[in-house]
């Protein structure tokens, strides 16, 4: 039988730190993708544009998922 216990504030702070590290990595990846794609677009290279857009969208969805989890643990705090 599982017992659901809300996180304490210290636990939530640790979770937010971990989440922040992950979100920052994804955002830096997106920034790199954007600059590389812009460079390719200005150089006339079209082959990377849609794959890069798909990866960027995936990163956004991951970030939104993490944000939803953050709202969830905020709602269920003790």
């Amino acid at each position: 039988m599982s017992i659901h216990r809300p996180f304490t504030r210290d636990q939530r702070t640790t979770i937010v730190y971990g989440m922040l590290a992950f979100v920052l990595m994804l955002v830096v990846l997106q920034l790199w993708l954007l600059t590389a794609t812009m460079n390719a677009y200005l150089g006339g290279d079209q082959s990377v544009i849609w794959p890069a857009s798909a990866v960027s969208l995936t990163c956004l969805l991951l970030n939104v998922g993490l944000l939803r989890y953050l709202y969830h643990i905020d709602r269920t705090r003790r």
Partner: protein
């Protein structure tokens, strides 16, 4: 008090059970609901009775403050992530419009007699605001490039005798024979304008954007 607890509450102001709504009750009655964990902790972690008076008067719950700061920063970063994704799709849409425009038409830009050996001339292609430069370093050698520097779009100046196209804004230089960057901040070559020579006439027949 023998009032029936199930009786409906009189919602008029200052009726029994609702005192204070007109300002007659001390504010302490309405103290905010506090989380068990929301205890004030000073930044030096010493107990509150050892803290200066001002800190007791204006307490800040630092662990809570840190938590809220990081949480809000995560939210801001997700917003930044959204902005990057929008930018990415904006590039894709721009690329779609560019493909729809297709190749520019072939157009006469000059005559060989108007471009002496060792000289250069400016022209616009494909649009009237797309300035380009035509150089003739040797008798049977002609090159044409877009004139916008690939760093920050300043106009490059041909220096035919030195074999370079120079950008005066940040001292960027491009090779005259290939259009590739050889010095300064630019990283991409200048767009190459394809040329056709028919008799004495020079035609522009397309623009080739390049990454390397």
């Amino acid at each position: 008090m023998s009032e029936d607890p199930r009786a409906p509450l009189d919602i008029r102001i200052d009726t029994p059970g609702r005192e204070g709504l007109a300002g007659t009750t001390p504010a302490s009655v309405y103290s905010p609901v506090r989380d068990d964990e929301q205890v004030t902790i000073a930044p030096d972690w010493r107990p509150m009775d050892e803290q200066p008076a001002w800190r007791t008067d204006f307490p800040i719950d630092w662990p809570q403050d840190h938590y809220v700061e990081r949480r809000d920063f995560v939210k801001f970063m997700v917003l930044t992530s959204l902005a990057f994704t929008v930018g990415q799709f904006w590039i894709a849409v721009q690329n779609w419009f560019r493909r729809r425009r297709g190749e520019p038409e072939i157009r006469k830009i000059a005559s060989l007699s108007t471009v002496p050996v060792g000289s250069a001339m400016m022209f616009s292609y494909p649009g009237e605001h797309d300035s380009c430069v035509l150089v003739r370093p040797m008798d049977r050698v002609l090159f044409a490039y877009g004139q916008k520097c690939t760093h920050l779009s300043c106009a490059v100046r041909p220096r035919v005798e030195e074999g370079v196209l120079q950008c005066p804004c940040h001292e960027g230089s491009f090779d005259l024979f290939s259009g590739r960057p050889i010095a300064g901040p630019p990283r991409r070559p200048l767009p190459l304008v394809r040329l056709q020579v028919r008799g004495d006439e020079i035609f522009a027949a397309g623009v080739e954007e390049r990454t390397v």
